[in-house]
Amino acid sequence: MVSVTASETRSRPFLPAAFRNAFVDALAMVAVLVLAGLAVFLFGGAAMQRVVTYAAIMLTAVLGLQIFSGNTGIVSFGHAAFVGLGAYATGILTMPAALQRTALRDLPPFLAGHELSFFAALAVVLVLAVLIGLLTGTPLLRLSGSSMAIATLAMLIIVYTLLVASREITRGSQPFYGVPREVGLWTAVVVASIALLAARLFRETSFGLAARAAADDERGAAAVGVDHRTARLAAWVLSAVAAMAAGAMMAQFLGAFSPRDFYFDLGFTLLAMLIVGGMSSSLGAFAGVVVTIVVVEVVRRFEGGGVVLGFQLPVLFGLTQGVLAVAMILVIWRRPTGLFGDRELDLLRRSESASIAASAEPPRRAGAGHVAADHLSRRYAGVVAVDDVTLSFDTDSITGIIGPNGAGKTTLLNMLAGDVQPSAGSVSIGMPVGKASAFRFARAGIARTFQNIRIFPRMTVLENVVVAARQVEPDLAAAEAAAMRELARMGLEAFADRPAAGLAYGLRRRLEVARALALKPRFLLLDEPAAGMNAVETAELVAILAAVRAERRIGVILIEHDMRLVMNLCERVVVIDHGRVIADGTPAEAQTNPAVVAAYLGSRTARAHMDAKTD
């Protein structure tokens, strides 16, 4: 143990590989932003500086949206509301007291006369953003998918209505004016740079990984211990913080604004920019803002007419919106996932992931544990899928569950994995987990795979396993090392950087097993692991499972129709038919059990079969 720890510390660099890669990516984008800032600072007029300042503010807001929508896959229309709240909060906090007395006569005393500097106000706004994020996120995130997206729309309308109605504080629908204008080019560039770093790094944090996994496959994510609600809430809060920071800058950039400046128009502008660039990456957010602003700025200069390359251009106001609309249609048509899709720059990914040293084998599970089903039943609207099953499984054993199609095997496995709530009876997994749920069971050492593979297609092979490893390892570096270990075990280390969607079928099955093993489980539940595999692949899988079981002494429970695999690998076979256990014993016992034969072949054939044998 001691030597293992020593070698791990020696080989572990300052930051996890994913963070180093993300950091370099973010720095590259920051460098572009700073260079653009420098260029207009040195060579541009005041107007060009305003354009870049505005671009940096919009970038901060779009990154805010990306942190949530990009990682969770849930579109939000509501981020314009956060921008608005940030703007009004900053406006009130930074407004000169003298002006406040005339412009906001009825301002509640606790809000009046603060006259903060921009950065002091920003600090207050960020704290406020966390509170508002938690307050709005907690109810919103109980919903899922499209209903959540609609709920963000509702939030936008509610916030707008509140801003209009709170006349004493916001001047209602009238212009809110008198905000000092301290935000210049460099303030905006610095805040946008921090937002870039935050957005790029967040993807790789445990929350970011978990949110992305849940976006790709919610059940698959729960099966590796991902609590998608917590992950989504974290993404929501951070995105609110970035959007409100953008709002704080917007307030001081505009100087005068009213609630309708932070309504549907802004919400859709933010979304459009993000969709053009590519929603699922911070590079997409960056590119979307840059491309939109560049197109607008270039085209705008020609709409007043003029001479270009000897051609006389007509005066054509509206050209900007026209070109922008055509550009968007082109992007959505030619590249439905945006200019950069789900790709980050990943400047260092190849070299950095190659530098990850696989960690040593985890220590063998000491002592025995068990999973027990106690009078377990599950009914679906009158159909009894599992009927009063009592079974117990030990670690350091391999059990096969067989039975005809529709016998209730998968339902039983789902209940053992915490994925399906029993209608009656209970499952005990040897440790208290509170409320039975798939992710809690996974974290408590019950890992599983699915009949129809549930990997995370838009994440890399390595990330797929890191998501799981991160649930049981103390930090990302340890998770990366553990993930590499499991990939190596399953013979997948060469594919670590590939998107999982690109893997061949057999490799996907292995990836799912590697992901399950990264949880350092006590029990591994496999639902038809060999389905769709050829004989060679099946043989390899059998060898790997046998080795894992021998090395780690975990309990393996598998559902399988491939009888050769079951008979070769399993020490115990449980036969289920019509939701009931009809046989439980060694493979040989099961094979000769008349009830089993009857279940598989029909009772008459079974009798004939038995008669033939006794003869």
């Binding site: 107007a47 212009p175 005068a256 604004f257 007043g304 003029g306």
Partner: protein, 390 residues
């Protein structure tokens, strides 16, 4: 200086543009640049465009006579704000960089304030095309001027008229969704109460709401029945409201302001009989306004759509007068000259800035719908002392 490079580029571009627009006046030393940061596209364009058309007509005529004050040829640079506040500030900055000495801003308060905050430190006089929120000039400072009759001026004119008619009790119907709909009836209420009337009730609506039954029930249930309902609602709220009000058997007269002087509302026929509203001017036979309307039709190829055109034209006249008084193209001198303008003879009547907070005192035409027609009642210029503070 790199900045000068940028400016040269712009100057070249602008010269190219206005080479066409103003049939190639040679660049004289005595040229004054007017920057127009106005909405060519988007939601504000229907207001900015007619006003800008009037302004361009005035400037074309003035240039033909030697320019502002007979001396300074106008180079009008127009840039599109896309009806967006941030974009307005950006193009205003570009216009300042291009050397604008006078700034024209959109018909709305937010973008006008945003642009005004850039021109205020430089002392560049800034005029909103038809923004009528009285708070506008106060929010920016001494360079910002309104040109259209302000909401509180319109409200005072209507209130004076109602009092003169003998109305005693008013119900105010407002909507917090826009400055105009929220404040204009309240200004009315202030003047009305000051002159002996009482506000017997208030109701609010959401812009775009289809059903006014709650407000109408509220009005019917008032113990003290009003003899007048004042609102600044416009389309589609005003037609919906009055239709449902009359259907409910309420015959109390309804007064409004300039936003209901539209063909749609005229088209409601007898339903709006007796509704009093305002306009920036009324073209009486033989009046200057009638002559302007004819001249504009000749110039633009179509009759004016509203009084925004004449308002824009008058901005040109005001600037001409101010430059004449200032005797120079110095922005600060021009600003002072505008601020001291008194009883200037415009097209619609006399325009006064002196003694105001830069929202002009100017005549308001009171109109009434009768038998599906707009009938002129009278044209009045409210007393500055009666106009409520913004």
């Amino acid at each position: 200086m790199p900045t000068s490079l940028y400016r040269r580029h712009h100057a070249a571009l602008c010269a190219a543009v206005f080479g066409i627009a103003l049939t190639a006046a040679p660049a004289l030393a005595e040229e004054i640049i007017i920057g127009a940061a106005t909405a060519q596209t988007g939601g504000l364009a229907p207001y900015d465009q007619p006003a800008l058309a009037g302004l361009r007509m005035a400037l074309d005529e003035l240039n033909a006579k030697g320019g502002l004050g007979g001396k300074y040829k106008v180079n009008l640079i127009i840039k599109d704000t896309r009806s967006d506040t941030a974009q307005t500030a950006t193009v205003a900055q570009e216009l300042i960089d291009a050397g604008a000495k006078i700034m024209i801003t959109p018909c709305d308060a937010d973008p006008s304030i945003s642009a005004g905050q850039l021109t205020q430190p430089l002392g560049i006089p800034t005029l909103t095309l038809c923004g009528s929120a009285p708070v506008l000039t106060e929010a920016v400072g001494d360079v910002m001027f309104g040109t259209y009759p302000a909401d509180n001026v319109q409200a005072t004119a209507v209130a004076d008229f109602a009092i003169a008619e003998g109305k005693k009790k008013v119900f105010l119907l407002t909507s917090p969704d826009a400055t105009y709909t929220a404040n204009l009836p309240e200004y009315f209420g202030k003047v009305f109460e000051k002159k002996g009337g009482t506000v017997v009730g208030r109701g609010t609506f959401t812009m775009g709401q289809p059903d006014f039954s709650a407000e109408i029930t509220n009005i019917k249930g008032l113990a003290d029945q009003p003899d007048l309902i004042m609102t600044a609602a416009y389309e589609p709220d005003f037609p919906a409201f009055i239709q449902q009000l009359r259907a409910a058997g309420v015959t109390i007269p309804v007064y409004g302001a300039d936003a209901i002087g539209t063909p749609t509302i005229k088209g409601l026929g007898s339903l709006v009989d007796g509704v009093v509203f305002t306009a920036a001017g009324y073209a009486e036979p033989g009046s200057k306004l009638e002559a302007f309307n004819a001249a504009f039709a000749k110039h633009a190829g179509h009759a004016p759509e509203s009084t925004y055109e004449v308002n824009g034209y008058e901005i040109g006249l005001i600037l001409d007068e101010a430059v004449k008084t200032a005797g120079s193209d110095d922005p600060k001198a021009i600003r002072d000259a505008i601020a001291n303008l008194k009883d200037f003879d415009g097209i619609t009547g006399k325009i006064t800035y002196a003694g105001t907070d830069r929202m002009p005192l100017r005549p308001v035409a009171l109109m009434r719908y009768e038998g599906g027609e707009q009938k002129h009642v009278e044209t009045v210029t409210p007393d500055a002392a009666d106009v409520p503070a913004p």
